[in-house]
Symmetry: D2
Subunit: 115 residues, 4 copies
């Protein structure tokens, strides 16, 4: 089993043991994931970009917990939907490579320069 598959199994056991599957509709899981992403965002909201590159140990530890929360809900939601998360990610990388060809995207990519 890959590491993400192990996580998936642990999350299945975790929810089953607590009888939480009833709450884990994909709709609810998508909401929970979004909430965790915002808790992650909150750690950076008053920092400058420069400060965000140099987090204190405490902030870094807090951020690590939020990154973890997002991944756990991502794995759980993918599982409930029967979607292979790694496959989806690999496919998206290919899509992105075609959407932003190096020669066009280098320097002033329209994606980044929409001011």
């Amino acid at each position: 089993m890959s590491e993400l598959e192990q996580l998936r199994e642990q999350l299945r056991e975790f929810a089953a043991a607590r009888d939480w599957d009833q709450f884990h509709s994909p709709k609810n899981l998508a909401m929970a994931l979004s909430v965790e992403a915002a808790e992650l965002l909150e750690k950076f909201q008053w920092l400058s970009e420069e400060q965000s590159r140099n987090l204190s140990a405490d902030t870094s530890a807090a951020v690590a917990e939020e990154l973890a929360d997002v991944l756990l809900y991502l794995v759980r939601l993918s599982d409930k939907l029967g979607i292979d998360l790694m496959d989806a990610a690999r496919n998206k990388l290919v899509v992105n490579a075609n959407k932003y060809p190096v020669d066009k995207a280098r320097g002033h990519s329209r994606k980044y320069n929409e001011l």
Copy 2:
């Protein structure tokens, strides 16, 4: 290399080839991740919980792309912060197990019954 480490390497090459590291401060990456989490949420916003358990093939494919986007930014952000994503996730599972012991959490968990 694990699959997440492979993804990390591919994302490094992708950004370097396009000279995008300048935009990839952790602050900006956290914002982008949050935006992708909301694009994922959007797919579910007018669905009932029941409908969310039975997505059409088209919606499922669209959702897979958003799940992928979130994972890609998660891996990229963790990399920029020097945080091991899998370690963080494994640690958080342990924290969660202690926070929601089975005997207390089963049935009416206070987490889920705050009405």
Copy 3:
């Protein structure tokens, strides 16, 4: 002065008195607004749609605080950008009326039936 203009003035004084304008770049304010919107979302994440229509007094009070937080950041951000919030809202209503004409939108609106 309209009520939103009064709010705008109070928020200007509030920030000035605490020397917080330095943190109130539109970028940061947009992040803060997004975080508050997620804190609002969190109150509903494990509720069914039916339960969300019948909140307890406590939850209702907690939700009211989050609604307030979103409005305060909305007014503050609009002010910093020099955008008239009420004008923008009125214009958007017109745009929406054209985008979803009653005869087309009634019943199965494509907006709501994308399954």
Copy 4:
């Protein structure tokens, strides 16, 4: 009628005419609001704080639409919950004034300096 009350009435008519109340559970409206807040956030994600203070006319117009979307869902959600949005905002300002007294908050407010 205040301007927000006018908006509330227009939104009631808008939804009723299109038979959309069925989709407007508070849970769904909170999701929609969160999605709009992220669409607003997206306009700023690759901008520096300085650039965010100097938006082009096009970006400013796009941002105005997103600010409007957030306000419309805020008014609609408050209405469905029977919560007075302006009252909630005024109360929250008082709460904030007590939470961040000027003498303590000025300069290095712990809220902003949690690095």
